[in-house]
Symmetry: C2
Subunit: 157 residues, 2 copies
Amino acid sequence: MALEVEHKFLLANDDWRGEIDHSVHYKQGYLSSSPLSSVRVRISDKQAWLNIKSATIGSHRQEFEYEIPLNDANSILDELCHKPLVEKIRHFVYRDRHVWEIDEFMGDNQGLIVAEIELSAVGEAFVRPDWVGMEVTDDIRYYNNNLCKHPFKDWDK
Amino acid sequence: MALEVEHKFLLANDDWRGEIDHSVHYKQGYLSSSPLSSVRVRISDKQAWLNIKSATIGSHRQEFEYEIPLNDANSILDELCHKPLVEKIRHFVYRDRHVWEIDEFMGDNQGLIVAEIELSAVGEAFVRPDWVGMEVTDDIRYYNNNLCKHPFKDWDK
């Protein structure tokens, strides 16, 4: 179990693209998202994970993650997860001893790009690059389980 | 992934107690039970599992099971699962090349005893011992996720 301390931001401009270290394609779906927790299955290239998160709103949440067989993950995504599934390219940017994960969504969430930084403790200081825009950590619309129920294409923008 | 073919029965009498091979204490809870699936955490003595089942009513269902660390399971049960948790003693009886699992429930489900046989294929023949009573495979009240939401003590009997 890990306590997850995460901050989430919109992007102010496209300058982060010049700093991408590598990118990974993710397909994921939710078995459930209740008032207490969410249970997610994620496939990236040739690996798959089952992830359980507490549903606390804000920057720190309990998280449990277990690798599972790829075949199991495909069956669970196809047959047991709520639709639509969420697909995105995650771009990794290394900056000042931190990792920025920049999610560029596809499908029903096309057009949405979100940057996340994971910290090792609540209140840990971090450098905010110029391409980082408004913080949306506490805005539940940007939670991946909500992007499945209420995708970006349907938002009032 | 396994396709689970299971039949569930009430008990006609107590004669099965003389045939118990061994018994295990289980504590379990549900992270979710949706129209598509249920996600369960179960602790038995010193092991713990995460279990995902399709929510099909009846004798065969898809099932995925992964062992997880005991500490994780305790945290998930305490903090993320719906209450009340389900506790039971599972008694194992070996009969005619099949295993009967006889669940004797505790707490809010005290008084309920259910026998299950797992088959390797739909339609596989099995011997029905004299102590086996009415079949309740298709009665969703006896599903363990429902015994959490609507325990035996609250049933109209």
